[in-house]
Structure formats: C-alpha cells, structure tokens
Amino acid sequence: MTKQYRIPGRGRVNTARRVTFTFDGREFQGYEGDTLASALLANGQHLMGRSFKYHRPRGVVSAGSDEPNALVAVGSGPALQTPNLRATQVEIHDGLVAISQNRFPCLKFDLGAVNTLAAPLLPAGFYYKTFMWPRSFWDKVYEPIIRASAGLGVAPTAPDPDQYAFRYEHCDVLVVGAGPAGLAAALAAGRAGARVIVADETAEAGGWLLSDTTSRIDGKTGAAWAREVVDELNAMPNVRLLTRCTAFNYGPHNMVALNERLTDHLAHPAVGQPKERLWQVRAKEVVLAAGALERPLVFDGNDRPGVMLATAARTYLNRYGVACGRRAIVVTADDAAYRVALDLKDAGVTVAAIADLRPAPDGALVAAAIRAGITVLPNTTIQRAHGLNRVCSVELAQLLPDGSVGKGHQWRADLVLMSGGFTPSVHMFSQSRGKLVFDEELGVYVPGQSAERERSAGACRGVYRLDRVLEDGARAGAEAAAATGFDGSAPQWQTGDLDEPGRGGFAGALPRRGKGLRAMAFVDYQNDVTAKDVKLAVREGFRSIEHIKRYTTTGMATDQGKSSNVNALGIASEALGRPVEKVGLTTFRPPFTPVTFGAFAGHAREFLFDPVRRTAADGWARDRGAVFEDVGLWQRARYFPINGEDMEAAVRRECLATRSAVGIFDASTLGKIEVVGPDAATFMNRMYVNGWTKLAVGRCRYGLLCRENGFVYDDGVVGRVAADRFHVTTTTGGAAGVLNMMEDYLQTEWPDLDVWLTSTSEEWSVIAVQGPLARKVLAPLVDGLDISAEALPHMSMAEGSICGVPMRLFRVSFTGELGFEVNVPSRHGRRIWDAIWAAGEPHGMTPYGTETMHVLRAEKGYIVVGQETDGTATPDDVGCGWAVSKVKKDFVGKRSLALPALKAPDRLQLVGLLTLDPSEVLEEGTQLVARPDEAVPMHKLGHVTSSYFSATLGHSIALAMVAGGRARMGETLYVPVEGRSIPVKVTNPVFYDVEGARLNV
C-alpha cells in the first residue's frame, strides 16, 4: 500500500526511515523527508480538503507555500491542534496527526457540498443582495448560518503551551530564498567577507534544483551542487543559513522579519525548545531571490482532485519519489511542462497527451517529447475535467482560427497537469514599496525601481534559464556585498543540459465552447471564486482591481492569491477591455505566508507580559500578606489585611491607626525628576503653573503641571535642594510622561536653557511616616538632624542621613497628619524601612496601602490626578486656582487658562458630597442630577470622582466634580442608580481638619 505510487530510485526522502502518521484517523506510512502532501500522494490520496464556499472536494495543487487547497489541521488535543496548515509544507514525523477541515461528516462525503447545487444562487457578492428581509432574521437566522458555514479549520480551545522566541540581528546582506539564485548570491557575498543571512522557507536549501534532475552545474546535478554550496556556506563563520525560515515582512529601512519554525517537523522536540523564532533583521543590503510560481489554468473542473500544477508533479517525482498518478494529461502554455511529461514518462507514468495552447510550440523540449513518443496536440485547450473526488477524464478540444473552440474529445486520465507559465514572486519586493513594471514579453509584473537598498535576482525578476539565474544571483550577491564594503568577484559555473522554461504562458480563463453558464472554472480555489464571478464584478461596475478583489474575494484566501492574482487580472482585463498593465495589481500585504500569533508574542505571557516594577519594601509587604494593585508597571500594596480582614475592615483599621498614632507607607513609586542647572528655576517657572523664583532652598511647594490646553496633567511636591537644583516628584503613572514632556519643551522650545533632567524615580526609596507620632519614631534615627516643628516645618526639606545612610527628608503630608517622607538610595531602602519599622512598632505603627492613602487624602479634599481630573479640569476646577501664578509672564497652559471657556462659572468644580444616610457609600463614576424624576436623556450636573467610608468621621464621604459646584454648597442633588436616586448634600471637599492644624504640629 505504502509503495503504491512511490517510484524506486527517485526522490530525496530517506527510504530507510519509515514514518507512521494518521490522516482523518487512518494510519498512513511515509518516509523521513516527506511532506504530508507527498506522503498522502504516495498512498494515492489526492483528496485533502474542501473548499470554503461550495465545499467542493479538493486535492493538492502545488508542492509549496502557494498551496490553496490542501489545508489541514495538525496536532491533537484542544491546545495543540493547529488549523489551516498546508499539507505541502507540513513535514511528517512519527505520530503526526492530521485532520481534514470544513467538512461534515467526512472528507469523502460532505453535506456542505449541496452548496454546489445552489451555486447559481451564490455568485460573488450574493450576500450583499439578500438576507435583508425580514429585518429581524439577520441576527437570529441568516448571520448565524453564514458564520457557521464560513471559516475553515477550528481554532484551538485551550491555551497553547508552547514557547516562542525572538532574535534581533544585523547583517550586511540578507538573501531571501535559497534556490539557485539565492545560493549563488549568498556564496558571492559570503566569499567577499560580508555578514550574510540566507533564509529559505523550505526544509532544505536548493529550491528548484532539488526537483530538476536533468540540468548540470559543473557537471553535477543541481542537488549535488546545492549540497556543496550549502556545505561551503555553513563552513563560513560570517554566513548564517536558515531553513524552515520565511521572510514575511519587509519593513522600512531594510527591516525584514523572518519566521523560523523550529520544532514542527520533530516527533519529540526537546523540552523547553521554542516552537518558532521571530527574527527581526536589519540588513544593509537585501537580495530577493524568491523564485517564481507556476500559474494554474482556469477551466471547468480545474479543481478536481488530480488536477495540479505541472512542476508540482515534477517536484513530487524527483524530490519525494512519488508519481502523482498513472495516466497523465498535460495542458500547458509553457515549455516547462514538457520536461515534467518526459520525467513522468521516464518514471513509468503514462502521458496520454500534451495539449498545448500555443499554435506551434517549437522548443527543444517539444521536440524531445515528440521524440519520446508523447502525443503533442498543439493549439488545443481543455474544455472540462470530469470526476468527483478524483479526476477521471478530460475533454480536450481544438482552438479554431476564429478564436472559438472546436468539438472535443474525451481523454481518460487520473492526473491532469497544468501550466500557465510562471509568475515571479514579487511579494517581498512589493512590500518594500518597490515599483513593479509590466514586462510585455513575459506578460507578468517584474520588479522595477527599488525603494530600499535591495536587488532582486533570478526567477523573481523573470530570469528563468538556470545559467542566467546563477549568473544573476552571483552578480546580485557580489554587488550587495560590495555596497557594504566587501569587494569580491561573482563566482561562475559551467552549466549543461539546460531547459528553457518561461517561454510562453497564459493569464486569464481558457477559451471554451459554449457560454459556460454552469461551468465551474476556478480562479481562486480556496475562496471558490470562478471566472464568472470576476466577470460579474466587472459587469456590476467594479472596475478597479481592488474592487474586483474585494467584491469577489479573489486573492483574499489564506494563500493571498499567490496562484490566482494574475489569472484574475487576466479575466478582469478582458472583461474591462483594458490591457493588463492598465488594470494593475492589488497591494501585496504582509505577511508573505501566515505567521503564528505566538511568534509575535514571544515570551510575553503572564508575568512576563510586561515588566513588573517593585519597590525595595515589596518583599516586606508580601511577607505581611499585602494585597497589591497594578499602577502602571508598578505593583503597589493596596492594603495589609490581618486575621482574614476584607479590604473595608483593613482600610478602616489602617486609617484609624494612622490618624491616632502613626502609619508607614511605601511612596517609592512616585516619579522623581532631578531638575538641575543655572536655569533650573526658570525652567520650572515655564513648566509648572506655580512660581518658583521665591521658593527658598530647603522649602517645598505643591507643583501643578498643565498641558498647553490648560488642563491639569500632573502634580507633586517639589523641593528646592539648592538654588540650581529641584527635587520634583510626579504621580506614579505620570512619571515617564512628565519627563518626556519636560524634555520635549527643553529640547524643542527652550534649547537655550541650561538645565539637565534626570529621572531618579528608581534611585530613591521613599518611606512615608505619617501620623501624630511620626516625629517620635523618626527623631532617634536621623543622625542628629533637628526635625522639630521649628527646624523643619511643614513643606520643608533637609538633607542628612538616617542610620548612616544619605537621606533627603521631606516634611510633607498627603494624609493631613504630621508627616515625613524619607528618601534614601534604593539599595538601602529595605534596610531603612526595617529600621523605621523597628523604631515605630513600639509606638503602634501600622503599615498602610494605597487604599488607605486614598481615604485619608479624600478626607482632606486632596485631589488625585486621574481621579478627580480627567484631562478636562483646570487647576481652578479642582480647587487649586491658588497655585497658579498671577505674575509669571508665561507657563505651559497660560494662554489656554485665559480663555473664557476655561473661566466659565458653570464649569465642573470640585466639591464634597455627603449622603443623607451616613452608611451609604456612593459608587465612583455615578452621575449627579438636580431632578431625579426627569426622563432620559437626563440633564447631568457632574459625577462622583472619589467615594469612601471614613472611619475617622464615622460616615461616608465623596468628592465630585459638579457644574458650578462651589456656588452650590448646601444644595441637595441626586445620584440616580439602578432603580432609585440617592440624595446627597453638596459640601466643602475638605471633610477633616479644615484649618490644617494637624499638619503644623
């Protein structure tokens, strides 16, 4: 069974190593080196998939990444089964599990194939014209049916356990493709000494040489020559040859992304070995040697399993040792197919006839075929292929002088090989934004003017004969190397027994007899787009090729039109009555072939998804069971539950302890920027709304930063360390943005200012000690520094040391209590934290987290930027109008703040809210209205920004932004929530210690 179609003595598979795999549950055998497609073909299995729309039975068409039909799922289990892989690219290994797709109940008999019967009702774009009545049926009936019948494979349902890796690399010359042109280019560049990377999407370098057994290079077969070149390249330390590695994205400035598949071909990958690696290569020069793709012919039944590209059959024969059938008919418009016929005949396959579309084919290969006794029928087309799950016969017919098609004759065949000539693979060139030009002689688009430092070589620019391909590749490689400073000569080789492919070709739909209203001649196999569909699109006024593509979906399947685009173009050109070069091509979009999402994500998963920033006291907090929250990249202790407390209970306890004794809080995440230089004060004056000139050394000020639009962007306490040095603090989330904004102004607006900005956020650990006993805790630790109310009043700072460690001590408070913030170098942070904790414990010191910090500051009416402000609040809106300097000539936002709209009395202003029920805690984000009984849309007056239960005050408190709020003190407003309205009283936002007496002790 296994050897049914295997031809002894042919192919490069390792017949000593048998491989067992399953397809749709059935066990098959192949050899090491087989692809899934070659192994199935060796077993006589052409049927490998079903099409997207009509569920037509489909066989393999190609032998490479252009395969539109043979899409399978590979792998087993909900996590590993990967849909939509091309059987032509899947390398088999022991235990490989492959499953066909888009069929029910099975591949041979698919109920979905009834769509073929309904095909007359389902032309291109039919869904735009129907499913509109009745309206309600769209969501409930039509769309669910459309969705269920669309899609190809089934997505995995469990998380992918595999690893993916990244690599960034620079090189002098990147060669895309390791066929004859690519190998020649790599060799030339490598010998010249350039750092070279060569990437080829297949498992073995050599490209077409591995399928071509007749040509000779220096007297050797192409494969033997390729082996020698590969060995030489692998021996060069400056060359890296990557196989199973697809260059898929050509970005600006020669940034090319490669996707290397590392384990898919292995039965037992090493544990932890990445499945794929994403390379991002910055190349000084790029050589594109991507080859060419053979075009299918468009005729009725061209999708029957057993109808395939001629050169694919040669690859299966010579690379895998597989004959794709027993009795072949060849239909061609190019000489290359004659060589395929000769090889097949040589391998014992009956070649019933070669039908050539050209009136008088006359090349050497044609003569050779005739000599070999093969029937050659010039001026002949294929009217139709018959068969269901496998082609069984074809009708060949004479092309008449008037262009019509004569009477046909049936020919029995189980294999139909078609060749419409070759299309240069210009995808990467086009992605690079190079300009394509139409080559009249070849009838295809080839690379024209390059946009990058790039050159194309070989078949991808329409150079087909092997001697010219080698010469072209070698020259491109040598030139690329020379352009990077490595001079060398282009190597040369003697070639012999060369074929002359690419002498002919056909684009469009084959001529046929009759109107063919019921014919199914596919242009885009996978998306089931027929020649009629393309014509219909043109008939309906879609005249741009982009419109035709979008209306018919031709070229939009997972092969991205590799085999279909030129034929679609040919049909469109005829229908439009415009020459091909005037119709143009659609844009080639990356990736060249589909790339796994995981390869892009790499190691970024779970806790490696984003860096975690931790403070010096992080471990201490974790040891105490703190619950954390994410703030930017930081993780901050939110509260410290003890004895199973919930957040509410923990926060209540932490608040009371801080207000009555002393609390310790990790404020290290606040952003810190050192602003230094002779013009530091001037710079601060221009950036912040406050005035800084008069701030004495050793004093602090609450700074407010606006954007140009006059709205609050950030805030923080700023200490003046010296006349020319400010210690600026920012919010945790705003740190990077503030520094960027400062640098932006400094570098672009005020380059004359002599100021340096340095982020010191991570240099300082900041330990806040807050509460009436704070001074008692710190005084013994600060190495003789006088921290009395007189020496270090509220809003002042001093430099000194604590426990022998250098310190900047700030007398500041975000709680409304006597407070200090101890800044020490981060490497000492944990030690000082421990020391303060040890000193504080006897005083009843309690650690508190961000939630308690929020409650304590809200009791004092202190705003949090991003909570009270939302990018639309001015300083005055949030009660900080006092901070805005009246005397400064200019600062960021000053112009905007002068606008009438920003001074309007009905702007949202910060107020406090008290609920009538003291235990009712409003939800943050709820809205405020004056008339709760109004129908929607209701007139809204503002919203609740912060809301907590205050243990200190014994009732709930809330901060809100309310239209003209400061003029509404004492008013009752309402908070409509689901099913009811909560009455609230508008109050001063400062709920606790309004005079600030507790700060100044």
Partner: protein, 417 residues
C-alpha cells in the same frame, strides 16, 4: 436601481447573472455642480446620499482620487458603538448607531451590521472607575451600557482569560449590547449605489489639486486632475489627507496624521462571539462573518502618510491578544495593513463649516471614524445643505480648539477606537 432581494437573485440566476447592471454610474466630471464632495469613502459617499435623499439636492458630485472607499473605510476594524463618555460624543455616535440599525434596509444593500455587543475590559482600579463613569453617564443618556463582573464577562465571551494569575487580570468589563460590526466595503458601495440612483455623479480617479475662490473669499470650484469643476459648495471628507486638502484653501487644521495598523487571522469556525476591547493592554478583536479574527493594533507614534507602520506595533497587540485569549496563540496572522488616521487634540471629530464660505469639512475621526459613517454623513449633509450645523454636530467645530471647548474623549478613554 435594480432591487436586491433573494427573488431578484433567483431571477438573475436563471440568466446566469448576465442581467446585473453596474451598481453605480462612474462618470466623467461635468463642468459644474451645486455641491462637490471631495473624498469617496464611506463618509463622503454617505454625505452625497443624504444630501440627495433628505435635502432634495440632485446636482452633486463625489470626487475620489483613487477607487471608492480605498482609504480608511477599507482599512478599519469596523467596530461600531456609541458608549462614549461625553454627552456631545455619545449623542453623535448614538445618532449614527441608530442609522446603522436600519441601514441595510434603507440602502437595499446588506451591510451586515451585526450587533454582537462590545466588551471593554478593565484591568486596573482606574479602568473600573472610568468605565463605571461611562456606564452611568450613558445610562442617563438612554444609551445602553452595563457593567459586568469578570465572571459575567467570561460568560458573555467564553474565550476571555479571567485568570487572576496574569499580569493584568480582568477586573470587570462594560458591555454595550447594541454595539457591533459591519461589512466596511458594503457600506461605501451601498451608499454609492443609492446616491448614484438619486442622480449623484460618482467620479473616480480624480484628484483635487486646488480650491478656487472668488475675490470676495467664497469658494467657486475645484481644480482636479480631470479638469476644473465649478461649484459653490465643497464638502471635504478625506480623513488622513484633510490637512492637505484644506491647506489648498489656506486653512490649517489641528490634525496630526499617524499610521494605524490592523490585521486578520486565517479564517476559522466561529470561536469568538463578540467584540472585545482592552485599552489598557491594547487589544481589539472581533471575528468577521468570514471567520477571520479582526484585530486592531495601536497607533504608530510618528507622523506619517505612508499607510504602514512598524512591526512592533501589531506585535505588541498580538501579545495582548495572546494574553487575553491564550488559545489563539496558534492562530496565524494572514494579512496586515495600515491606514492614516487624522487625530485632533481632543480625539473628537470636526463636522463643521470653515471660515471660508462654501467650504465645509468633516474630519478628525482619528482611529474611530467607521462607526460614525452614516451619522457623520447625515449630519455633514445637513450642515452643507443648510449652511448651519445640526444641533448634534454643532459642538464639533474647528473653533473649539481655539476657544478651549474640548470634547476630550482621549482624556476620557485613553484611546477612541
């Protein structure tokens, strides 16, 4: 206009579909029109349609530099929703959403508007506060939006990863059930067909090169690559190139054009029931009717007109997709592309008169203009026809940037997809 229906499809099938006529007339420009709309995307074509349909105007041309709807109409991820924060925005987007709900019937063109809901996922305490504010504000405006716990969100969207052991666990989500997606090309083609049927001239491959004005200032016509066209009213609807076209009349717009990228996976059987947006970790995903996962990436931060961006931007988005939906790691990117978004400082659009009589502009839709297509077209048509804005688009002036009357959805939502 040939009526589209199952019946007409069946009737045409008998004749091999040879009887279908062009869906719109693509014509050469006449020397003069009452109104010329510059830009044949969804917004521009829709504007022409509503001018003809609702304002009884007929002598209208739409001119398009390339092929219809080849710009952002064809490049976006088709998310349609109206749960914006500020009253001005939500009423604009809601106006649009309501038009979407009957657009297929109105145009007799199935635009496949699919109301599968839009989940906006919260990952931080700040997200929760912000999204709840949206929910409450929307509800009082009569716009559906609700808050779901993480578990409820997972019930609505089973692939969602709500494990607490990820870097930014899902804390909850807001859900607008009426939100959805539509087939982007169909919207433009449907408008083109309907407008053409009402007599609007659709002129493709015609690039505007200048704006002609009278000595007194008002517009008198446009110069194009296909000749001059006289007109008294010009409506400009050209997204990323708005600054360029308005610059021809000497108007500077507060716009910055940035590339925005998107991608699709290979098609798979239905595996994703809704739209999920995560502003915090930058993931935007839905599954098209064809089966492709449609994924929006972030904005490239540099200013550009190149319709492409850096690979790190979609890569970053795929990190987020794989984090939230770890079973999709093995799906594969099929196609990726970029468009040029025109971003205003407050990430809200401009649909307004300009300082030049007869010149109107609809732009600044940034990363989220598709959802507004029928609404913006409808209100822009009103503004042009009556030479004054409709109350809904009245706040969306150019002058608001001068006067500081922002509608700052950027501040409200961080992004405005």
């Amino acid at each position: 206009m040939q009526k589209f229906s199952a019946l007409s499809l069946a009737r045409q099938a008998i004749g091999g579909h040879l009887g279908w006529k062009p869906q719109w007339r693509s014509v050469a420009p006449k020397p003069a029109y009452d109104i010329v709309i510059v830009g044949g995307g969804g917004h521009g074509l829709g504007t022409a349609y509503y001018l003809a349909r609702q304002h009884g105007l007929r002598n209208i041309a739409v001119i398009e530099r390339g092929w219809l709807a080849g710009g952002n109409t064809a490049r976006n991820t088709t998310i349609i929703r109206s749960n914006y924060l500020f009253d001005e925005s939500s009423s604009y987007y809601e106006h649009s959403l309501k038009l979407w709900e009957n657009l297929s019937q109105e145009l007799n063109y199935n635009v496949m508007f699919s109301q599968r809901g839009c989940l906006m996922v919260a990952h931080t305490v700040h997200d929760v506060q912000s999204f709840k504010r949206h929910v409450h504000a929307n509800r009082l405006n009569g716009i559906d939006n609700e808050w779901l716990t993480a578990e409820e969100a997972k019930e609505f969207c089973p692939p969602l990863n709500i494990s607490p052991n990820i870097r930014y666990p899902v804390l909850g989500a807001s859900l607008q059930r009426r939100a959805g997606t539509a087939r982007h090309d169909a919207v433009a083609w449907g408008f083109a067909r309907a407008a053409s049927d009402l007599g609007v001239d659709i002129i493709e491959n015609c690039e505007v090169t200048g704006i002609m004005r009278a000595p007194t200032g008002e517009v008198t016509g446009i110069n194009t690559t296909r000749g001059d066209i006289r007109t008294g009213k010009i409506g400009v609807s050209v997204a990323g190139h708005s600054s360029v076209v308005l610059g021809m009349a000497g108007i500077r717009l507060p716009l910055q054009s940035n590339p925005l990228q998107a991608l699709v996976s290979e098609p798979v059987k239905p595996a994703f029931p809704t739209i999920v947006m995560s502003n915090t970790i930058h993931a935007y995903i839905s599954q098209s009717d064809k089966g492709e996962m449609v994924i929006g990436a972030g904005t490239d931060s540099y200013v550009s007109y190149t319709q492409r961006g850096g690979l790190h931007i979609p890569a970053h988005t795929l990190e987020a997709i794989c984090e939230l939906f770890p079973m999709f790691r093995r799906l594969r990117m099929l196609r990726s592309w970029g468009g040029i978004t025109d971003n205003t400082p407050d990430r809200s659009p401009i649909t307004a008169k300009t300082s030049i009589p007869g010149l109107y502009v609809n732009c600044g839709w940034g990363t989220g203009g598709f959802k507004a297509t029928p609404g913006a077209a409808n209100l822009f048509a009103w503004t042009i026809a009556r030479n004054e804005p409709h109350p809904i688009n009245a706040p969306f002036t150019i002058e608001r940037f001068r006067d500081g009357v922002m509608i700052d959805e950027a501040a409200a939502a961080a992004v405005a997809h």
